[in-house]
Symmetry: C2
Subunit: 443 residues, 2 copies
């Protein structure tokens, strides 16, 4: 195994699940690994405390007149359940079939480690970097980065930079370099529907009081029409229409056809908002998805109860120019208006972040396109992404800087799912990309 | 503690959960306790094997010319979750505030133990019983008694009897003796809605493939109209209308007003099929209830997945003359017809049993009314029950015998829920009732 892979395996072994308070010490231990690593590379490094998980901030000695580049990544990961569907333990990385299998392999440890190791190689080879570098790693991306905006505000001057580079997005297909210039935003909530103050015998009481599971299902069902459109009043009011060049380019981007989508997702059919292609549905249209729902008896056999309550978690993916607070308020209003008789509802808003778009034809955008072409041997496609990286919008708002999204994830990398993986090939290409990119940005 | 309570506590300590295969040995150990007890009372007893949990069958020495009475009960119990809502351990019975708290206290160990102990007292006091007695205890009632009908068929002649007595139903209110003459039937199913072959990132794929949790919710929502009626085609086709005398009597039965129902269930409001009183909704109208549903992430915080599948369990309560097989087939057809685009469905039928009605004014019915009046000091009300005891219908069909339903459960006894309980008062009244009833039936 190469030293680079050994370093990647070391960070993948930390179960740094930020949403689960039982893993807080694992998150911290992971941060400490990066502190030690950056020190060994000769960078100055600081473990910055936040209200929850720490931020790791590393810098080289700045030289006046050079471009300042900020590389962002996150060392926290998603939960691992359903654990029984993993073919190998999520925090015991293995290489098989040319891929590294582990939670966080692609999202995001594998991708930012490529940058870190590219920086390390450049320093070893040249003794210095061609740019002033700020390397920022946070531990709260998977819970919506609650403490990063405050941190950026506080250190606004120290973090001032010319361009930001982030590899936390995808390539449209294996071998097709991809520059992302847009992301969907997100807004979340959890809803609890309350009925009787305990589970009831469905024979003794069924029929005479409302069933909260039925009521919760009716609420969820009310969120969409039969054509896949979100039925919340005003949901689409501020949605920016697609530009003609985007529809044109996206119709030719490989990897997002209906058959590609069926193969990658294993779904029995594609389905979505009428009048849009799959790429448009994924990259430029907002959604309202159930991430989880539960109520009553879920065990073996039957238990004939009328459940006391039922819950569901929703997340809406947002596009320019939807405001998260406005959208979640409309969802709440919709649910309150559609609440069935005989139950009450508790609504808890969750994390949120705005959508983002930038100009892929800026000076830094062109440097990124050249670096991608040099490493992958063909010009990149220009796309938006369906996922959310709220911090990119925050960095734009607070630092005033645009972000180059240099995706290294492949469509079957299974992020957020069992059997997450990252190809060794893209990991190594990412190391080369980081070296070339800093060279071109510094030129 | 009295010897009677000691015996009840002994049986309540067995976690005889019939639906959970991990508890099979507990179910058997509980059956063995009854075998030993009946032997100590001088009855002949047999532990009868079935394909799953055994039946305990006890008899006295039959005397020609006497009435034969079969007393039925079940020694299996419901699961205990959500365990965290119990105030004391479900299988460590305690007496507090005049009540016995334990899983099975009312359903059904406490109620059939009253009969068993009444029989024991009569034998001790008089040296013999006034009737030929058959005491039958099964261990599969909570999973739909799959093996009892076959057992009844096999032993049809041996089990021939003049009347059957069962205490597995309720009193309408504390102190109001209650003779039940009808029960709702039941038919169950479990539905799994399948989408992608793994959980997906809701950002990367949300909007372009169907969400199985949304689809499951849409299916559940399709089962009722806004007035609380079941929307399955043909669902009410065979429903027997209520007789005028029933509507009249039930309008005066205490304990089933809207305010009673709110107090007992802790629901925020009553809700049910338009055009019927709560008593009518509970005792003479069919239902379609979600007993449980689940899909996606249910843990702390958020996990922005598009779930691979979602499931729900349904049970329909049935009334005369609905056939379980016909109704569940109509439900399946409805679900198939309403299946949203982009998902597939697996439908698994569960246990079922027909509804039951008898004449409460028969000779045995009058004896039961007299016994209830003697023990409780006022004439009983005549009602049907909302719950299902499919075996009562089977005993009618196979043995040709009607059943006296002598309910001892109180409305707040929490059967099938956390904190199940049985009042010491009703337990002791049940012992007296059993003695008086056998006397009157034998006269």
């Amino acid at each position: 195994m190469t030293p680079a892979l050994e370093d990647l395996f070391a960070v993948l072994r930390f179960p740094s699940i930020s949403t689960d308070s039982n893993h807080a010490s694992d998150v911290r231990a992971c941060a400490q690994w990066y502190v030690d690593k950056f020190k060994s590379m000769g960078l100055s490094v600081e473990l910055c405390e936040t209200a929850k998980h720490p931020i790791v901030l590393a810098k080289n000695e700045p030289v006046s007149g050079r471009k300042t580049v900020l590389i962002y990544g996150h060392y926290d990961v998603q939960p691992v359940d359903p654990i029984e569907l993993w073919d190998s333990a999520p925090f015991e990385p293995v290489i098989k079939d040319g891929k590294i299998w582990a939670r966080g392999a692609t999202d995001n440890k594998g991708q930012h480690m490529a940058h870190l190791l590219g920086v390390e190689e450049t320093i070893k080879e040249k003794g210095e970097l061609p740019v002033n570098l700020i390397f920022l790693l946070e531990g709260e991306e998977e819970i919506g980065s609650p403490n990063l905006p405050g941190f950026l505000e506080e250190r606004k001057e120290e973090l001032a930079c010319d361009v930001i580079a982030v590899s936390d997005t995808g390539m449209v297909a294996k071998g097709i370099p991809t520059l992302g210039y847009g992301l969907r935003g997100i807004t979340c909530c959890e809803v609890k529907v309350n009925g009787p103050d305990k589970d009831l015998h469905s024979g003794l009481y069924g029929g005479a009081v409302a069933n909260p599971a039925t009521a919760a299902a009716q609420l969820i069902a009310s969120l969409h029409d039969s054509e896949g459109k979100v039925a919340v009043e005003g949901f689409y009011d501020e949605v920016e229409p697609l530009a003609d060049w985007e529809r044109e380019m996206w119709s030719q981007v490989p990897g997002v056809s209906e058959s590609d989508l069926l193969e990658v997702t294993g779904s029995p059919a594609v389905f979505g908002e009428a009048g849009f292609s799959s790429a448009e549905r994924l990259w430029a249209r907002p959604t309202c998805e159930v991430n989880g729902m539960w109520g009553g008896y879920q065990g073996e056999g039957s238990k004939t109860v009328l459940p006391s309550y039922a819950c569901f978690k929703l997340s809406c993916r947002l596009v320019p120019d939807q405001e998260p607070e406005v959208i979640i308020a409309r969802v709440q209003k919709h649910l309150e208006a559609h609440l069935p008789t005989g139950v009450t509802m508790e609504f808890t808003p969750g994390h949120s972040g705005k959508a983002y778009v930038a100009d892929p034809h800026s000076e830094a955008g062109k440097a990124a396109q050249e670096a991608l072409e040099e490493v992958f041997g063909r010009p990149p496609v220009l796309i938006r992404e369906g996922g959310s990286i709220p911090i990119i919008q925050s960095m734009k708002e607070i630092l005033g800087t645009d972000t180059l999204m240099l995706g290294l994830a492949l469509p079957d990398c299974q992020i957020h799912s069992p059997n997450e993986n990252f190809t060794v090939e893209n990991f190594e290409a990412g190391i080369r990309l980081s070296k070339v990119l800093l060279e071109k940005l510094g030129a």
